[in-house]
Homo-oligomer: 352 residues x 2
DNA sequence: TTTGTTTGTTAAAACGTTTTAATTACCTTT
DNA sequence: AAAGGTAATTAAAACGTTTTAACAAACAAA
């Protein structure tokens, strides 16, 4: 009572148990058991443990980090943590990290390479043991440098071409192909794609997928990809208007944001989807799902994104000394196909 | 080159600049200027600064924390970080914290008080300077204890009744009243509410709002609140069926999750919203917005939630010594009213 | 000259761990 | 009884800061 409620340290425990602080440390870290152990008397160990328990000892992280150089924290840097796709992944990473006694720091770049660099600096100062990063355009240099320093790093969602970096990505080519194929199978021919002008690996591959689906189905002449700058999404209205003037029948949207913007624009202009114009998109979405707005969408295996990325990172942290192996994990997309809006299930409630 | 790329410390700078480490510390912390300064020679200070710059000195956080006891990190614990409402708030907090040179740790409780307690322990061990918490049912004890220790704490979204804790919440009563009022004004009479059985302040107040709106409009006889357990949301189907059998015309959903589940269920049963049944809900939502599913919704001032909570917390951290003032910030909801679905703007694209 | 004041600088302690190397105590062997 | 081995324990250094108290030098006032 008199002492103010000062934090309990290893020293207090040592005093209370009548041993040295070294012994306490050994016991608390389980160094008293196992292969290359420190030989601590069974009873002493038990005594120490019980004192620690009784005083509710909580080791001081800062001291531990200072001494050992390990923080048991990792950083996760995405484009925008409030974007559902990334928020979901973040949640998975958080849960999984927690099980491994790791904590996670989150940051958003807004696709700005300068912000990315800042965040990396801040996180490294905080001493994170490793980073999971969604690279943005213009960040290649920064990331390569990081990897050269042998700093544990895993890329997520997108890759950096020409760099030997570990990554977890979707098979975007295949996803693009298959989702476009749904439209083709439904008989559409004039199918165009709405995409970003940013040079990101995932986007580019989605475009490739669409393109090869079209050519392989003899629709090469209709291939057309519209590139929007992400800070000028309002331009989408012009793109759509122009497309309609060319009797375009369906669109492939390269991301969920683009799809939502696109459909919103169409509604504003009075088009109904899919009545007037069909579409497919990447990522699922309550709105499109509920109202069968999309003919199909690419469902990404969120949990696996998180799990694989974290596992890869932890492995990479564990082997920091080794010359850094580079692993690529490519996940398989699932295509969710919706029945047309006209065939919405009309299951009227049975009884009453 | 020979030295391996060891991290630059304050010692290296001192050596390089030919001064003591104390002086370097003074300069790096700006203690050389201002009111109660440490009087460092202008030129010396400049020299130190330039050396630090040249060697790209990055202070070691762990050491700083160990010595000063301040981490410049705060924890944010919500129900589910992948929920759009919380993800948006998290993003605001993150941005704002960053400007104040703070980093943020996130955690999700899944409405489980045990998880909350664990997270609090973990975050405190990590040494966070303070916490922003969305309290869940059953966490009252834990939170009160925390506050008793004079630990900086701000509640978000919900309050803990009977405890003197700082908080940032919506005027949920008013929101409930006003959003229900929209339905009343549209001529509906049999209006029921779908809510959670959890005992949370925000939920209870929303119910109060609905209730008083109804009674004040002479509809007291129709008041009916359905309480669902959040792990048994599938029960919503029965609730809706039952309601339909009583000719209920419209629903007030207490949260976005409930609304989404509810509408999905209605669609499954073949009802169209709002053709067969009208509804209002809390929080905006792309789906309901796009298709005018909701007659109205409560729009919460996300950015203010984040900003007020963080500001309050930082203030509380700054004055840790004082006996802890308790501030309540009550934010005003905005009601967004949609025109009926039948009057969707049919502005066909002008030219072409 | 002495005394006091201001300015600039530094030595050293402290924060709470982890880990190495040394030490003690107690058995076995000879 | 001496030597060697093993089991258990500990003293002390190190990690990189911040901050206090002391010190030296220069100058001003007596």
């Amino acid at each position: 009572m008199g002492e103010r409620n000062r934090k309990i340290t290893i020293k207090d425990i040592a005093a209370e148990a009548g041993v040295s602080i070294a012994l306490v440390s050994f016991v608390m870290n389980g160094k008293s058991e196992g292969k290359n152990a420190y030989r601590v008397n069974k009873e002493t160990a038990e005594r120490i443990r019980s004192v620690a328990e009784r005083l509710n000892y909580q080791p001081n992280e800062a001291a531990r980090v200072l001494r050992s150089g390990k923080t048991n924290a990792v950083g996760v840097i995405v484009s925008d943590i409030s974007n559902k796709f990334f928020a979901d992944i973040a949640r998975c990473i958080e849960d999984r990290a927690y099980k491994h006694k790791y904590t996670v720091l989150f940051g958003s770049t807004d696709e700005n390479p300068q912000k990315l660099e800042n965040l990396i600096d801040v996180f490294r100062n905080k001493g994170v043991d490793g980073l999971i990063v969604v690279p943005c355009e213009g960040a290649e240099q920064t990331l390569r440098k990081l990897a050269n320093e042998n700093f544990p790093l895993v890329l997520l969602d997108r890759e950096v071409p020409g760099a030997e970096l570990s990554s977890v990505v979707l098979n975007n080519r295949r996803a693009g192909y298959q989702v476009a194929e749904v439209l083709v199978r439904q008989g559409f021919r004039r199918i165009e794609m709405v995409s970003y002008s940013m040079n990101l690996s995932n986007i580019r591959e989605r475009e490739e997928g669409y393109r090869s689906c079209m050519t392989e189905n003899g629709l090469g002449e209709y291939v057309r990809i519209h590139h929007l700058r992400h800070e000028r999404l309002d331009r989408i209205v012009e793109v759509l208007r122009d497309a309609r003037s060319r009797q375009v029948e369906a669109f492939v949207f390269a991301t969920n944001t683009l799809a939502m913007q696109g459909v919103t624009a169409m509604f504003r202009m009075g088009w109904q989807v899919p009545r007037d114009c069909s579409m497919v998109c990447f990522d699922t979405n309550e709105a499109f799902d509920l109202y069968h707005t999309a003919a199909a969408c690419v469902s990404q295996p969120i949990e696996r994104f998180g799990a694989e990325a974290l596992d890869l990172l932890l492995k990479s942290i564990e082997h920091r000394d080794q010359p850094m192996a580079c692993t690529r994990v490519v996940l398989t997309p699932e295509i969710v196909e919706y029945a047309g809006a006209e065939s919405l299930p009309e299951v009227v409630s049975a009884e009453v």
